[in-house]
């Protein structure tokens, strides 16, 4: 399987706002577009032979990741609204990518936890502690669901924001990003 969708995601992340907003099969400017595309995920995977239960877990994890981008950047997108969403499966291995050019986890969580200093601390908090930047609402469980079900279904997730990444498989490990991610990038492998 080639590296194409990761390359396309990187290009989308660094493109000018005008180029990034060009209509494409991967760019989802609104939540409705993202959800309409993700709604096809389970049927597509099941038709290609992926276990039904796993297909719905992959759909649910992608749904939480994509909706999180919209929930936390609504009305606050720095330049380009929406997410890049792509998935591929070759009958053996699959990969999905969701990227946004939003505020990023640190800037988002700082509203609720001003003591946060680094991207790494913010990612650790996002995936392990009950917290939400939308402080007037009882939120903050979605990334914990993602982490637990990536682990339980033996999937692999790399999630990067700012200069930090976490890699989740049998557990969660911090990684230093190779480059600075403006917003968030999630790569799910299955």
């Amino acid at each position: 399987m080639g590296n194409d969708i990761e390359k396309l995601a990187r290009e989308w992340m660094s493109a000018s706002p005008e180029q990034a907003q060009v209509e494409s099969e991967y760019y989802c400017p609104t939540r409705d577009v993202f959800e309409a595309r993700n709604n096809k995920t389970p049927e597509e995977l099941i038709n290609k032979g992926v276990d039904e239960s796993l297909s719905y877990f992959i759909y649910s994890i992608l749904g939480e990741l994509g909706n999180n981008s919209f929930d936390h950047n609504l009305a606050n997108w720095p330049d380009v609204i929406g997410v890049f969403f792509a998935m591929e499966y070759n009958g053996k291995n699959g990969r999905a990518i969701i990227a946004d050019r939003g505020l990023g986890v640190l800037n988002t969580l700082k509203k609720a936890a001003p003591e946060l200093k680094t991207d790494a601390e913010a990612l650790e908090m996002a995936f392990t502690k009950k917290i939400s930047s939308r402080v007037l609402e009882n939120r903050g469980n979605d990334l914990k669901f993602v982490k637990n079900n990536v682990i339980e279904n033996n999937l692999f997730l790399k999630f990067c924001s700012g200069n930090a990444c976490v890699a989740i498989n049998h557990g969660m490990e911090r990684e230093t990003g190779n480059s600075v991610v403006r917003g968030c990038v999630a790569i799910l492998k299955f």
Binding site: P42, Y56, F57, S60, E64, N67, D71, N141
Partner: protein, 93 residues
């Protein structure tokens, strides 16, 4: 009172959709019910459920009513979501 979750769809993911579902329930099925009323939440037919959607519906119903029964929760995403809500949203059911 039995709430059939499948009537909102078989794939239930986002908070806005969950919020809309709860507003509809509050306006119709749950309207004027006593907090003592037995509420059965039936997940039969649901293929995918996430904490974002369920937090807006299941957690809010559980906060309003004392006698909640969860039915047909065998789907793996339903089970995983309920586990997340119990752990992170103080769902007591």
């Amino acid at each position: 009172m039995r709430i059939e979750i499948i009537k909102f769809g078989d794939k239930l993911v986002s908070r806005p959709a969950g919020r809309e579902a709860f507003l509809a329930l509050e306006s119709y099925q749950l309207k004027n019910l006593s907090p003592e009323e037995i509420i059965e939440i039936d997940f039969e037919g649901v293929n995918a459920l996430t904490p974002s959607w369920a937090d807006e519906v299941v957690t809010k119903i559980a906060n309003k009513f004392k006698n909640i029964k969860l039915l047909n929760t065998k789907n793996a995403t339903v089970q995983a979501t309920l586990k997340t809500l119990r752990e992170y949203s103080d769902l007591k059911v």
